[in-house]
């Protein structure tokens, strides 16, 4: 899990760097700071389980086992990317590992996750679906419709709310009278759990229970992970709306730093072993960058392909 979290962190740092060098077209929404959520969730999943993702989706892909090279190439708009350059940062998918794609319409992935859960149920498999969305998305009608339906039909869906306190620049307290998104769960007859989203083991444990429940056909769970973006909402955002003290407080709770300390304390790894993991991970990210940068752009006429099967 540490290795995966590092992969995401180093990957996102590189994306930011490449962006600064004008190598990334369009915009980016970085996952840095929220790694414990994606990794804590996906470490509970099998390859044939599904996830749905959001505009801030790089971390979800990597945690589910996506290829770093193809992910980076897609972000750079290259032919070798997961979607052959048609999707970009906000639309990465890898159907071969159950990553059903990131949708950039806030809240739109939630009913799609419910559909994948229904499909698993109708096909009599014990696959589960983890559905990632932010606290902002929980104000969309789709959240309320979908969680209701998943509960009524007892579908194997784990609703994972990544509450990073801000919907773009809007503080949660400005648009919601409640503190916990999980408080909405009882209204739909579904268990709601709040966890420290910067503690990968806490996330892992909560999701483990939800996955067991889902596989047994006992229905969905809503897990709210309290977390924080290290950076702004997107490339243009310096996040000046966040008070300095708040940022410092959360940076001190950095999920990777905390997990590293825990691993050393528990003597799971020596300092040396951890440094080796860090060096290996950095090298893998470098390889992915090189692959992506060296890959060709798609042929322009490729724009006309893939509209219909």
């Amino acid at each position: 899990m540490y290795r995966k979290m590092l992969e995401i962190r180093f990957f996102e740092e590189k994306v930011f760097e490449l962006y600064a060098q004008n190598l990334v077209p369009g915009t980016i929404h970085l996952y840095a700071g929220e790694e414990a959520v994606a990794v804590g969730v996906c470490s509970n999943l099998r390859k044939d389980d599904y996830i749905t993702s959001t505009h801030r989706g790089h971390g979800h892909c990597i945690a589910k086992g996506a290829d770093l090279k193809k992910t980076m190439a897609e972000i750079l708009g290259k032919e070798t990317g997961y979607c052959k350059g048609k999707g970009g940062s906000m639309h990465i998918a890898d159907f071969s590992i159950g990553m059903l794609g990131a949708t950039a319409v806030v809240g739109a992935g939630i009913p799609i996750a419910v559909g994948a859960g229904l499909s698993a149920k109708l096909r009599n498999t014990d696959q589960v679906v983890a559905c990632f969305f932010g606290e902002g998305a929980s104000n969309q009608g789709t959240f309320h419709e979908a969680i209701n339906l998943a509960t009524v039909w007892k579908l194997p869906v784990i609703f994972v709310c990544e509450n990073n306190l801000y919907a773009m620049g809007t503080r949660q307290s400005k648009v919601m009278a409640i503190k916990n998104i999980a408080d909405r769960a009882p209204a739909y007859g579904v268990p709601g759990v709040v966890v420290d989203g910067n503690d990968v083991l806490a996330v892992y444990g909560a999701v483990q229970e939800a996955v067991v429940r889902a596989r047994k056909g006992e229905g969905p769970t809503l897990i709210e992970c309290k977390t924080y973006r290290s950076r702004g909402h997107s490339r243009v955002d310096a996040a000046r709306y966040r008070p300095r003290e708040e940022v410092d407080e959360w940076l001190a709770k950095d999920p990777i730093k905390r997990f590293r300390e825990k691993l050393l304390e528990a003597k799971t790894f020596t300092e040396k072993a951890i440094e080796q993991i860090e060096a290996e991970t950095a090298a893998r990210i470098e390889e992915a960058v090189k692959f992506a940068v060296d890959s060709p752009s798609p042929e322009p006429e490729e724009a006309l392909q893939d509209v219909y099967a």
Binding site: G87, D94, F95, L100, G101, V105, P111, V114, L149
Partner: protein, 324 residues
Amino acid sequence: MRKITYRDALREALREEMQHDSSVFLLGEDIGRDWGGAFKVTEGLAQEFGDERVRDTPISESTIIGTGVGAAITGMRPVAEIMFGDLTALAMDQIANQAAKIRYMFGGQAKCPLVIRTPFGAGVNIASHHSQSLEAWFMHVPGLQVVVPSTPYDAKGLLKTAIRGNDPVFFSEHKLLYPIQGDVPEEEYIIPFGKADVKREGKDVTVVATSFMVHKALGAAKELEKEGLEIEVVDPRTLTPLDKHTIIHSVKKTGRLVVVSEDCKTTGVSAEIAATVAEEALDYLDAPIKRVAEPDTPIPFSPSLEQYVIPNEKTIIKAVKETV
């Protein structure tokens, strides 16, 4: 040949495809055993196939379609019913941004065999929220296929093709068509998309009409025959893909075109067909193209108002005469 209703033809298509393929299932509001669909298309199917495969949903249009998308991209073949076409507005993100684009955005990885059935059309005095014809909205979304069957035979054959395909289909059923009877063979058949049907041959004027308007056009053609005018009625049957070839072939023969569709004239179905002919066959036209469509108003309630805005035999005859 035996005659059955449009409603029964649709139900037969659903039943046959459900028998033929266990991944086909239905979802929608009130489609299950207690009601059988607002227009009774799915009546009896829950009893036959069980509640797991004929699923009553909450009133959550966006999630009906979103659930269909999620099921479709993971190996199922859902057929979703939206009770009235007007209510597709509630599910527009899932239809236009998700179902239609999911294949393209992900570089061809996904297939999304989702069929969305919904009744459109005016004429039964249920006013602005239950009477529109919005097919043109969906023609404007690459990735969707738009089907507008006018007869029981076409309805059955096209619905079977829709369910078997690998792309999302918008399947529009005009609510006045459900009770009409027509020839439908006992043996199995399918109708490919993108193949128009010449519903009546004629040499003088081409009338391209869709859905319920095909019957109005045929009525007008009968009247005009008495005056010595031979009208060719072309029914595109699918708007996406559109069979330009058959339409242009007919225009080359007659040199005159009237397009009839029951929707607002501005950027409507008739606009696209007229523009296509103007672009690709202008030299064959002996008269300006005429369009018969609804004025740009919502559908009103009172019968006198409603009938005023819907195209009919008289308005079609008038337009045809203006081309000759």
